[in-house]
């Protein structure tokens, strides 16, 4: 019995993992790139500001198809590209309109929306932490009715899809908000925020208990056909049973992850700094944690995983794709560099063109281990 060596073609296609157990797994990994002249540099590339790149991009880059369907199992949610902006960091899409070409984004996840208006938490609400920030906004928002009236008419005319982030304190709340959003022109999908760390215990409970997460997902699924994403919390011991329960309850996709719970202290160290004491940690500091959760979840669910956590440059996007995500949300980094999401779209297309790919599909899941249930072609004697 001889193990066949797998042939890695030079076409740049990731080899299909057939369960071959060769001595060294031959997987094409993203090659080391020269440092990109963006992201970390402080000066803005004038080309980015003037919108130049679109006109000058080579045809190879133009030919790359970045489109993605976030809800292939359901009614479909096709985005022009896999770069989304994260809930709470981009308002309702109108705030950054003067400096960002909003129309180019894959999708916008709007600020968390609840049934009734909320005034949010006491200040201070945000503070910088090493390579990240803590926030405890407390879901300040004008309520679903106002969101539908004020912003949905604007969203209708956009190329960019808007996914409304929905939060609540009870299953009935979630159901009522989603029922209101169902069928509203301009609302392309729903992202269930069952994991906001900054509101009462009731809201958080859904994300830390598999049964509760499945229950709220199923309840919402019954009242709307809109594409349904559910945002996972990292503040749990094992996220996999929760992810599985949500997938089984009919969610179209998972978003991983929300912020990590944390605190900061006031300068005199006599009390916590944030008005709400606890805040959610975001930014580059949480990327390894988010990457781990994407890696874990992508292996056990059949629905798409949208990654979020500390994306600041193309390498982060490629990492998340390799760990099994099909799309990526950019959040905190927008505060530092509002043009980052649009630039990432261009850089991802360039990267695909450079590798000779017509879509970014082959970049997805390259770092995932062989599926445990995939049949081995080599037989038991090769098992360690």
């Amino acid at each position: 019995m001889k193990a066949k060596r797998k042939v890695v073609t030079s076409a740049g296609k990731a080899p299909v993992s057939q369960g071959t157990r060769s001595a060294i797994p031959r997987r094409r990994r993203p090659s080391r790139l020269p440092p990109l002249p963006t992201g970390r540099s402080l000066a803005i590339d004038p080309a980015v500001l003037s919108g130049e790149p679109r006109a000058t991009r080579s045809q190879a880059i133009e030919a790359v198809d970045l489109s993605v369907d976030l809800a292939p199992r359901g009614s479909g949610l096709r985005l022009a590209n896999p770069i989304l902006v994260a809930s709470g960091t981009f308002g309702y899409g109108v705030e950054y309109g003067e400096v960002v070409d909003v129309q180019r984004l894959g999708a916008i996840c709007c600020k968390g929306t609840t049934l009734r208006p909320r005034i949010g938490n006491r200040t201070p609400r945000v503070t910088e932490t090493p390579a990240g920030m803590l926030n405890s906004i407390g879901l300040q928002n004008p309520g679903v009715e106002a969101v539908v009236e004020r912003y949905a008419p604007t969203w209708v005319g956009w190329d960019t899809k808007v996914i409304v982030n929905v939060a609540g304190e009870s299953v009935a709340d979630y159901v009522a908000v989603c029922r209101r959003l169902d069928g509203v022109p301009g609302v392309a999908g729903i992202e269930l925020n069952i994991s906001c760390p900054n509101v009462g215990r009731e809201g958080l409970q859904f994300a830390i208990d598999a049964d509760a997460a499945g229950e709220v997902t199923a309840a919402v699924r019954r009242v709307t056909d809109l594409p349904l994403l559910v945002k996972l919390s990292p503040n749990v011991a094992d996220v996999r049973p929760i992810a599985r329960a949500i997938a089984d309850a009919g969610a179209d996709a998972l978003t991983a992850v929300n912020t990590l719970s944390g605190i900061a202290l006031a300068a005199d160290r006599r009390k916590p700094l944030l008005g709400n004491v606890f805040g959610g940690l975001s930014g580059p500091a949480i990327k390894p944690v988010a990457l781990r959760i994407v890696y874990e979840v992508a292996q056990i669910v059949d629905i798409p995983v949208v990654a979020i956590g500390g994306v600041t440059e193309l390498a982060d996007v490629l990492d998340y794709l390799a760990a099994g995500a099909i799309a990526v949300q950019v959040g905190t980094a927008i505060f530092a560099d509002p043009t980052l999401p649009v630039r990432l779209i261009d850089e991802l297309a360039e990267e695909c063109a450079r590798r000779g790919l017509s879509s970014y599909g082959p970049l997805i899941g390259t770092a995932l281990p062989r599926r445990p249930d995939a049949p081995s072609s080599k037989g038991v004697e090769y098992r360690p």
């Binding site: 803005i44 960091t89 005034i119 200040t123 945000v126 910088e128 300040q140 505060f335 043009t339």
Partner: protein, 286 residues
């Protein structure tokens, strides 16, 4: 609101730990009004993530030069002081709503506490150009923290108070206000929260003390304006520049709110940073 690379032209430490930096950024200086601010990106993602908001200290639209005045209080501001002339930083601006001076106001009272000078400094230039008389009340902890009068226009009457009495009035800057409240048509303040709160309570009792209301002066009295509207500010005797930890500075993240008497939080970056003093819920404990 524009994003631009601003080139450092000049910098100096005007007071211990306080810096004045000049940047060349023509695209940011057009149409700037006193009270507005820029959001400056410092460092890189490795450690410092958020931008830092700074009030426009002075603006020269003709040469495209803007200055910011800050104290080194952390990694971001220290990073800024290590910049060398010729290097550029990424700035987003102009942001926020400006001070609104009623066109009938001849006598303008500016009140600054410590670094609050950065918030009202530009209004001195603006009001002088409009032919108004200006008194600047300034409070600091000690004489060595007193803003140099050489950096103010000559026409400004500059009155100083220090907490330890080492220069000028011995006490808080708010003690000086009653001397000028009859003279002033409008007052504009920037400084620590307790100072602004004290000024707000002084301003609230001013009309009753002076009997202004009975003189029948028309400043839109009786009409109410929406919270955060330019009219509400223009009508107010006291306008304050509020400070809050800030995230995005464009109104997206809702991090930098202040509570208003209407019970709705208002964003310092969008509806502010300038508010009519009577709009702010000073005792709400936010």
């Amino acid at each position: 609101m524009r994003l631009a690379a601003a080139e450092l032209v000049d910098q100096r430490e005007i007071l211990p730990g306080q810096w004045l930096q000049s940047y060349h950024a023509p695209s940011l200086t057009a149409g700037v009004r006193a009270g507005q601010f820029v959001h400056v990106r410092t460092g890189d993602y490795a450690g410092l993530l958020l931008r830092r908001p700074f009030s426009f200290n002075t603006v020269d639209a003709a040469t495209g030069i803007l200055t910011i005045h800050f104290r080194t209080i952390g990694g971001g501001t220290e990073w800024l002081t290590r910049l060398r002339p010729g290097e550029s930083v990424d700035m987003l601006g102009p942001l926020g709503k400006p001070f609104e001076v009623d066109r009938r106001s001849r006598h303008v009272l500016l009140i600054a506490g410590g670094l609050g000078m950065a918030g009202v400094r530009l209004l001195a230039d603006e009001a002088l150009r409009a032919g108004r008389q200006i008194v600047m009340l300034f409070g600091a902890a000690t004489a060595r923290d007193v803003y140099p009068s050489s950096l103010l226009p000559d026409e400004v009457e500059y009155v100083v108070a220090t907490d330890d009495g080492s220069m000028g009035h011995h006490g808080h800057v708010t003690d000086l206000v009653p001397d000028y409240e009859a003279w002033a048509d409008q007052a504009f303040a920037c400084g620590p929260f307790p100072m602004l709160r004290a000024l707000a309570s002084l301003a609230a009792g001013r009309r009753a003390r002076l009997g202004v209301a009975s003189l029948g002066r028309k400043r839109g009295a009786g009409r109410t304006h929406a919270t955060g509207s330019p009219e509400a500010r223009r009508k107010a005797f006291l306008q304050v520049s509020m400070e809050q930890n800030m995230g995005c500075a464009v109104g997206a993240c809702l991090g930098c709110v202040v509570m208003t008497v209407a019970g709705t939080p208002q964003r310092v970056c969008r509806e502010g940073p300038i508010f009519a003093a009577e709009e702010i819920a000073w005792e709400a404990g936010w």
